[in-house]
């Protein structure tokens, strides 16, 4: 994938499918086995990232959802929402300039990187069955809400079964 990105050769479809390959590989080797073992998997991003990103790039929404149909719906999904200005500020503070693909420059939306990012992220607001957390609020407050919702979901969770395994957590990103 790095090879294609470096040469800016990817079309919206090949970009989408290569990310799907990467996701499928992690899903099969890192997410599915711990789930089968009764463990809790924390995924930093899931299929929804692809749905939003790839549809914003122009592929058909039903197509990209179909591509990811092998992945089950999570028991709980949080969507950390930030106003676009905040997300842009955070990204720009971290590095000199936005990466070409992150800003959707290959879509030819705008020749100005920052303006292009603004347009691109603005389209990434298609929300599914996600719990929205306002990520511009303080971290402790956000964490409190996340823990409460997670606790509700895990009320029936069998700790004993997971402890009998080789640990009770797995994370995937």
């Amino acid at each position: 994938m790095r090879r294609g990105k470096r040469r800016n050769l990817l079309t919206p479809s090949t970009f989408s499918l290569l990310h799907a390959v990467d996701f499928a590989d992690r899903f099969i080797y890192q997410i599915l086995p711990p789930l089968r073992a009764g463990m809790i998997v924390l995924a930093d991003r899931y299929v929804y990232t692809a749905f939003a990103r790839d549809v914003a790039r122009g592929v058909h929404p039903d197509w990209v959802r179909g591509v990811y149909r092998f992945a089950p719906r999570p028991d709980l999904t949080f969507f950390f929402r930030v106003p676009i200005e905040v997300s842009l500020e955070r990204l720009l503070a971290g590095r000199a300039k936005l990466k070409y693909y992150e800003a959707g420059m290959d879509l030819g939306l705008s020749t100005d990187l920052v303006e292009s990012f603004r347009l691109f992220q603005g389209r990434v607001l298609e929300i599914f069955d996600l719990r929205v957390i306002e990520a511009s609020h303080d971290i402790a407050g956000q964490q409190k809400i996340v823990r409460r919702m997670t606790g509700e979901i895990l009320r029936e969770y069998d700790h004993q079964r997971a402890h009998n395994g080789h640990g009770n957590r797995a994370s995937a990103r």
Binding site: L10, S13, H60, G66, V67
Partner: protein, 250 residues
Amino acid sequence: MATEPPHAKRWHGHGLPYLDEKPLPGHLIVIEGTDGVGRSTQVELLRGWLELEGYAVSNTGWTRSPLLSATIADAKAGHQLTPITFSLLYAADFADRLEHEILPALQAGFVVIADRYMYTAFVRNAVMGADPDWTHEVFGMALIPDLVLYLEIDVDTLVPRVVRGKGMDYWESGMHLALSSDIFDSFQNYQRRVIAEYDRLAREFGFITIDARESINKIQTELRAHVSEYLRRAQSGPHPEGDAPSRPKT
């Protein structure tokens, strides 16, 4: 569909919505058939003949995209692939060739000969046990070809051809499916399943079936007859200049 010209283009599913709708006056001809059946020989002969007939010809083959051919070869060498990652890599290779080779050539009025097409993925995925509905969804970006010529063979005729040719390889013998630890048994078992699935698709998608047990020349003569007949009908249709592919209603 009786009102459509014989070469009206359609997408298999949702197509590529981000592309401008452009007429595709070219012709997409697919040659399908299992490993070792003689597809590449026939494609080369067909190409030479069509060029002499005055057509601009472009050909494309499975896993030959500049973007992915090396990646797929690496992944196969590592044996890390599952049916899902395998299918998605094939789909990415296919999409790359579709957008960079097939559609531009069709726009320019070329005859495109595809050595294998999406049906190869349908067959392999079905044999690997991937959900067939999922495979169709993934290949929803594909353009439906104008003509599919299927080289049909039976396993007993295929085996000596492959043994005399390049030999039995790991993947073509279906060793990844662990059907048998013996490569010869596995090859027979796997290819029997592949051929059965091709035969099923031939009925479902209306392939033109050619008996591949015949000689190279006899097969080529038959292929040319079908291609000539198709081109004659396509060029006498109501829109010989071609139309943009139609999209499904959503």
